[in-house]
């Protein structure tokens, strides 16, 4: 059957191009791509090569022989039940136990609740009682559980490459104490990662008292301290700017990716989403507005209502212009305004953009906010502090929190101490400086100058190799410690499993160094709680059960500073915009979305979780703007544009593999080499490369992935370099990219409107899409609200009567009795609502789902065949507003739209109709269920799924390692290896681990539904109170979501949160015209552009909506033209 995916069913000669595109190639409508599109699982899936009669008999004979052997042993093997000898208190075999703890970060400990089964941590969720984060986590936090079971972690301590005992390590530390006790620490240096732990800080203070001449240095590969450094310069105190996005009606983000990568982003994303919730028509008028000025294409930029592309090295000057405008508009110090304009001259920018933006910020005085990215220079932060002051934000949307006293040397200071020979023994606590210290320090050589280097770390990595001793660290789920959230609330770090290997806890190492009289880490944390938070042992138990200490936040402080201070701080430094062009590029060095600063490089979940914007997996790339691509000779016009450097005429996109040209990026004589990825939305002369790849000593997962860009990091320019040059080589490289997978060509898949449009006519989303003018689908029930349609499955006059899932099964005699039937309480009906207005595309749901549902990773090679297994994917669409120009030119300034798609649980599921073995069927709760044991792997269902959400196990992804998939049974069985068993400890025991040849997909976390149902029935006993109360049952993706964009619950209950969420004019079904009637529906996105802005006419209606309308043949039912 011909698959016609075009929006307009009639004309072939009409513009047929997709209004959204998911890869630049698709957009180019290459024939290969089109072919590929129409086959779900492309390579080698249907063709079995080399099967002939002879082979067949050979195989059959072998299997009969095996069957014969098996017959002798067909008695059931003996299984044993091993009970406790003395059952520990609080454990019920078979039931999970939840522990509160927190994820240690440099500035922010994220409060968590960790699920353990039989004392194995299996799943991490946020602590929902902690209000600022509301239980949200990030993909990294979710994935950190996999590091615990990483077979490549250090299992023991080493001297060189010889294993040493724990006692030897303790002796080693005692020796250190003895040696340096005599010299007062002269010659001893410790380099640590920053931490929020008060216990560690207390021990460090003890340590400094004991060794007054010791050097204590702290270093983090990604520097995010500039906001606090600037605050310290301005206010003369250690203060942290803290933003309350929930209160902010107008936000200007200056290169700050505050929804995903800035410190404290969980709370900011959550607050931002609160300001964007549109529950009803009137809310659209109350929506917050986000202006974003940025060089990289970030998630914050994709959420912005007005986005200005500007290189990071010009943003300080831009900030000065904004400040000048604010000063002028508020009647401030005119001299300062002139001074700022003067200093920022040289930046050519549309002044009206700034004027209109500032006007809008000032109109919402006290409710507006400027946030500067933490990588920007101090001057930008000084200016933004001042702007916020003038905006009246202080005490409203921004507070200054007083940080506890803390001092540490920088890595540069430590480096010069080493260089001058003042360091005899260097202890490195965590971090990985040989790999990630600024290149100009040449840390590898420095470290070799020190006569004794002791490294405490989780992996045997680049730094360990050049150390004399390597001490194994424990995972945070195996350690006692504590920390503070970004706001300062005191949170514990609590172990829930005994150390799997011979690791040491950081607190113990420090305690031994400080030579305190006891080394029990629990006692140390308790001691901190007593001495610094006035707690008792009973209070500590309460803290552990609640997971945070209410009221322990850093105290806010009111501040005072004037224009004079700003002027004096700025007069010393230059804020002029850098001169950029194709031969003097700006290079932005950003932490990678997969591996962070490199510490998650060996984590398979993160490696395979597609980057939220580029959708690349397993590698990083040199991202260039379309303008730069053009400059490099990629013909970006007339359909000849390229991705990765190969012309359209030769094929450059094979399934999931993006064949990319390799380029050399050179700054000041230092060259890094990596594949090119053309990224719409970048500032023209900015090149973005991500840190954390190209590790030299890493485990099996991270080996050979990506390229290292740390050589470009300088200690005085950690995140932004200028003067870069880019040249292409003739080599090619295959990137694994999921962005072209399961493409649904354009149309009203993702509906977007503007706030003003919503105020005029809140039903605009219903008037989009083919279903809006195809009455036969719902027939006489056409006008029923969508949430009701989902609920009732209306017949609409059709002869086909759709069965009601909630009816009792016809084969139960008791319920067939009409009198009994009247008393029947139907099963709850599950559904989901996803708000596209608040989805920030952070990937937290993707990894949380992977952790909850035992989803395997498949490796780069399989991704390149389009076989990734994630049950929920985040579609990212670009749009430029003009379908015609899309076809001819890469847009340099697109709007980005994000959409999470998992199985939508259609009530009339197309997959069910084609399954020959009834392996996928509906259950009484309206779930589209997969019975793995029935599945024979025909993949018909995946072919018939219009949403392409089904995933097939082409291999035993759990049982075999990724390089042995093709060996089949001849490969090594991972379940029988120690490493494989270690990884298996993470598995959720309530979810089947799928084997080869089985289809799988989102189940709506059916295990959680069943457990909640059972728990409710256990409670109900001999009553009929069997309905799970709303809010008790929450699915994994919902819990992880920082913005509460995902709501799950009983759609048959009009009072449930999900029903209320669906009872919204923005509610629509994906591909609703197919009449699949999905249980997951979406809330259309509302953008909120400002009519005063110079780009308003261009983005008055979202690009996607304009593209949708431009391909409509003519207005039908008069429904569309009104909006033009």
């Amino acid at each position: 059957m011909k698959t016609d995916l075009k929006q307009s069913p009639t004309e072939d000669n009409l513009p047929s191009g997709p209004a959204y595109w998911r890869s630049l190639d698709e957009w180019a409508e290459k024939p290969e791509f089109k072919n590929w599109l129409h086959r779900e699982f492309p390579q080698g899936a249907s063709e079995s090569e080399g099967v002939n009669r002879r082979n067949f008999f050979k195989i059959m004979a072998a299997s009969f022989a095996v069957a014969g052997l098996g017959a002798a042993g067909c008695r059931r093997p003996e299984h044993y039940i091993l009970p406790y000898h003395k059952q520990p208190e609080g454990t019920i075999p078979g039931n999970p136990v939840f522990f509160s703890t927190s994820f240690p970060g440099a500035k922010d400990n994220l409060p968590l609740v960790v699920e353990t089964h039989g004392h194995r941590p299996t799943h991490i969720e946020g602590n929902r009682d902690y209000a600022p984060y509301g239980g949200s986590i990030s993909a990294f936090v979710s994935a950190s559980i996999l590091n615990l079971y990483d077979p490549d972690r250090m299992a023991a301590s080493y001297r060189g490459s010889r294993r040493i005992s724990r006692e030897r390590v303790r002796d080693l530390i005692n020796e250190l104490v003895d040696t340096f006790g005599a010299t007062g620490g002269q010659g001893l240096a410790i380099l640590a990662e920053p931490s929020t732990s008060p216990t560690r800080a207390r021990l460090v203070r003890q340590l400094k008292e004991k060794f007054p001449r010791m050097i204590w240095a702290e270093y983090s590969a990604v520097d995010q301290d500039n906001p606090e450094r600037a605050a310290e310069e301005v206010f003369g105190a250690r203060l942290r700017p803290h933003y309350s996005l929930a209160k902010a009606k107008r936000v200007l983000s200056l290169d700050a990716d505050f929804v995903s990568s800035e410190p404290g982003s969980n709370a900011m994303a959550r607050g931002f989403a609160q300001g964007r919730k549109v529950r009803n028509q009137a809310d659209a008028g109350q929506m917050s507005r986000l202006y974003s000025v940025e060089s990289n294409m970030t998630l914050t930029g994709s959420m912005a209502d007005h986005r200005l592309r500007l290189s990071s090295s010009q943003i300080t000057a831009f900030t000065a212009l904004v400040a000048a405008k604010v000063i002028e508009a508020t009647g401030g110090d005119a001299a300062l305004a002139r001074f700022l304009r003067d200093r920022a001259s040289g930046l050519s920018i549309d002044q009206t953009w700034i004027d209109a933006c500032v006007e809008d910020l000032l109109e919402h005085r006290g409710q507006s906010l400027v946030i500067a990215g933490s990588h920007l220079p101090k001057e930008a932060h000084v200016l933004s502090l001042f702007i916020n002051r003038l905006l009246g934000a202080e005490g409203q949307t921004v507070r200054y929190l007083e940080l506890p006293d803390h001092s540490a040397a920088s890595i540069t200071e430590l480096a010069s101490a080493i260089d001058s020979g003042r360091v005899e023994s260097l202890v490195i606590l965590g971090g990985n400086p040989v790999y990630n210290a600024p290149a100009d320090l040449n840390w590898k050589q420095l470290q070799k100058q020190v006569s004794q280097v002791i490294r405490y770390g989780y992996y045997f990595d680049e730094t360990s190799i050049d150390a004399h001793y390597s001490i194994a660290a424990t995972h945070y789920l195996e350690s006692w410690s504590d920390g503070r959230t970004f706001e300062g609330a005191y949170v514990p770090v609590q172990p829930m499993i005994l150390p799997l290997f011979e690791g040491f806890q950081e607190i113990e190492i420090l305690s031994r160094l400080a030579d305190s009289d006891k080394h029990d880490t629990y006692d140390h944390v308790l001691e901190t709680f007593r001495s610094e938070f006035g707690g008792s042992e009973a209070g500590f138990k309460k803290l552990l059960s609640e997971g945070f200490l209410a009221g322990s936040e850093y105290p806010p402080r009111s501040v005072e500073f004037g224009a004079g201070r700003v002027r004096s701080l700025l007069s010393r430094s230059s804020i002029a915009a850098a001169e950029l062009n194709a031969n003097a590029l700006e290079v932005r060095l950003v932490p990678d979305s997969h591996s962070g600063d490199g510490s998650f490089n060996n984590n398979g979940w993160m490696q395979e979780c597609p980057d939220p914007v580029t959708k690349l997996t397993w590698d990083n790339a040199i991202m260039i703007s379309p303008a730069m691509a053009k400059h490099l000779g990629f013909d970006t016009k007339s359909g000849e544009f390229l991705i990765g450097g190969i012309a359209k005429t030769s094929s450059n996109f094979h399934r999931g593999s993006e064949i990319s040209r390799v380029a050399e990026l050179t700054i000041d004589g230092v060259t890094v080499t990596g594949p090119i990825h053309i990224q719409p939305g970048l500032a023209d002369w900015t090149v973005v490369v991500s840190l954390g790849y190209g590790r030299r000593n890493v485990g099996r997962v991270g080996k050979g992935t990506g390229f290292d860009v740390y050589p470009l990091v300088k200690s005085d320019a950690r995140a932004v370099r200028t003067g870069g040059r880019l040249s292409l080589t003739n080599r090619e490289f295959k990137l694994a990219n999921t962005q072209a997978h399961w493409s649904i060509e354009g149309r009203a898949i993702l509906r977007e409107g503007s706030a003003s449009q919503h105020l005029e006519d809140s039903e605009w989303a219903q008037k989009m899409g083919m279903e809006s003018h195809s009455p036969p689908i719902y027939g006489t029930d056409k006008d029923m609200p969508l949430h009701e349609k989902v609920l009732k499955t209306p017949r609409g006059g059709s002869a086909f009567d759709h069965p009601d899932f909630a009816d009792p099964a016809p084969n139960v005699r008791v319920w067939n009795d009409p009198e009994n039937r009247k008393k029947f309480i139907p099963d709850q009906q599950w559904g989901m609502s996803i708000d596209l207005n608040t989805c920030i595309g952070c990937n937290a749901c993707v990894v949380a789902c992977q952790s909850e549902n035992n989803i395997p990773i498949v490796g780069k090679e399989q991704i390149m065949r389009g076989r990734e297994m994630h049950w929920i994917r985040l579609d990212r669409y670009y749009s430029s507003g003009d379908v015609e120009s899309n076809r001819n030119e890469i847009p340099s300034d697109p709007q980005v739209s994000l959409m999470p798609v998992g199985c939508l649980h259609c009530e009339r599921a197309p997959c069910e109709q084609v399954c020959p073995v009834n392996a996928t069927v509906h259950d009484s709760q309206g779930l589209n269920v997969m019975a793995y044991n029935r599945c024979v792997g025909t993949r018909y269902c995946a072919n018939n799924c219009p949403y392409k959400v089904r995933r097939f196990n082409f291999f035993d992804y759990n049982k075999r390692s990724s390089d042995e998939f093709y060996k089949g049974p001849l490969g090594e069985n991972l379940y029988k290896t120690e490493g494989g068993q270690l990884v298996s400890m993470q598995r959720n025991p309530n979810v089947t681990v799928r084997m080869r040849g089985v289809m799988e997909k989102c189940t709506y976390c059916v295990q959680r539904i069943q457990q909640a149902r059972i728990a409710q029935k256990v409670k109900a006993k001999d009553s009929n109170d069997i309905h799970i109360p709303d809010g008790v049952l929450r699915v994994a993706c919902q819990n992880a979501c920082p913005t509460e964009a995902i709501v799950f619950g009983d759609v048959s209950n009009p009072e449930s949160a999900v029903s209320k969420s669906k009872d919204n004019d923005r509610d629509y079904s994906l591909l609703g015209y197919l009449n699949t009637r999905p249980r997951t529906t979406y809330l259309a996105r509302v953008r909120n552009p400002n009519p005063q802005m110079p780009d308003y006419e261009r983005i008055r209606y979202p690009h996607t909506q304009r593209e949708y309308k431009s391909v409509q043949p003519q207005p039908i039912n008069g429904g569309h033209s009104a909006h033009h």
Partner: protein
């Protein structure tokens, strides 16, 4: 030319067909009988490391099921007691019986006793004890009269059909809540019980799942 085949060979095809038919029928019959849980599981009675006698403890001493299987009403898994539970009594009673040597050594050393599993669900089946015993389904329905077993054996097939038989006719499997752990209970009046059971199904809204998701996740 002489006939190559004697006359009796005319019957060979017929005989062959009949033989094949018999073979086929008996193969099918054998598979249906021998290859089902009714045959392969029922009666399985492994020797346990400790000769624990349910008959003695339940019938003669009057222990409740939940004395040892203490979390059967709270968890999916009906736990086998820890050695400490045995030692509650056996530190006093028969404290040096050689039959209990295994229990004592487990209690002291921390090594688990290796009880042989009698009832095993396949890995893809997620059975939950708590929901059954809390909704009027007695242990006896699936495990038989364990109270009378000296050594525990597998009493019911526990096949999918066995489960579904009851899930399709819930009124046959439920009893008053206070009789769930009384394995000897029989209704005084069968007809009256049937009426009670039907009412209970309606009043408690017993609607056991027949969908895949009920047991397979």
């Amino acid at each position: 030319m002489a006939n190559l085949f004697p006359k009796r060979s005319n019957a060979v095809p017929l005989k062959l067909i009949i033989a094949l038919l018999i073979l086929g029928v008996s193969a099918v019959a054998a598979v249906t009988y021998y290859f089902t849980p009714k045959y392969t599981r029922v009666g399985y009675m492994p020797t346990q490391p400790v000769p624990y006698d349910h008959y003695l403890h339940v019938e003669q001493l009057g222990l409740d099921c939940r004395f040892c299987h203490s979390y059967v009403d709270q968890s999916a898994h009906a736990n086998v007691p820890d050695a400490a539970t045995c030692m509650n009594c056996h530190s006093q009673v028969k404290s040096d019986s050689p039959l209990l040597a295994e229990v004592r050594s487990s209690y002291e050393s921390g090594e688990a006793i290796e009880w042989v599993r009698v009832h095993k669900m396949p890995d893809h089946v997620f059975f939950d004890h708590s929901v059954h015993v809390n909704r009027g389904v007695s242990c006896v329905e699936c495990h038989g009269n364990v109270n009378e077993m000296v050594e525990v054996w597998h009493d019911q097939p526990l096949s999918m059909a066995f489960c579904l038989d009851c899930h399709r006719a819930p009124e046959t499997g439920i009893r008053p809540m206070d009789q769930v752990y009384n394995l000897n209970w029989t209704p005084e009046n069968a007809a009256e019980h049937a009426k009670w059971a039907e009412e209970a199904v309606v009043n408690w809204n017993v609607n056991p799942p027949q969908s895949c998701s009920g047991c397979h996740r």
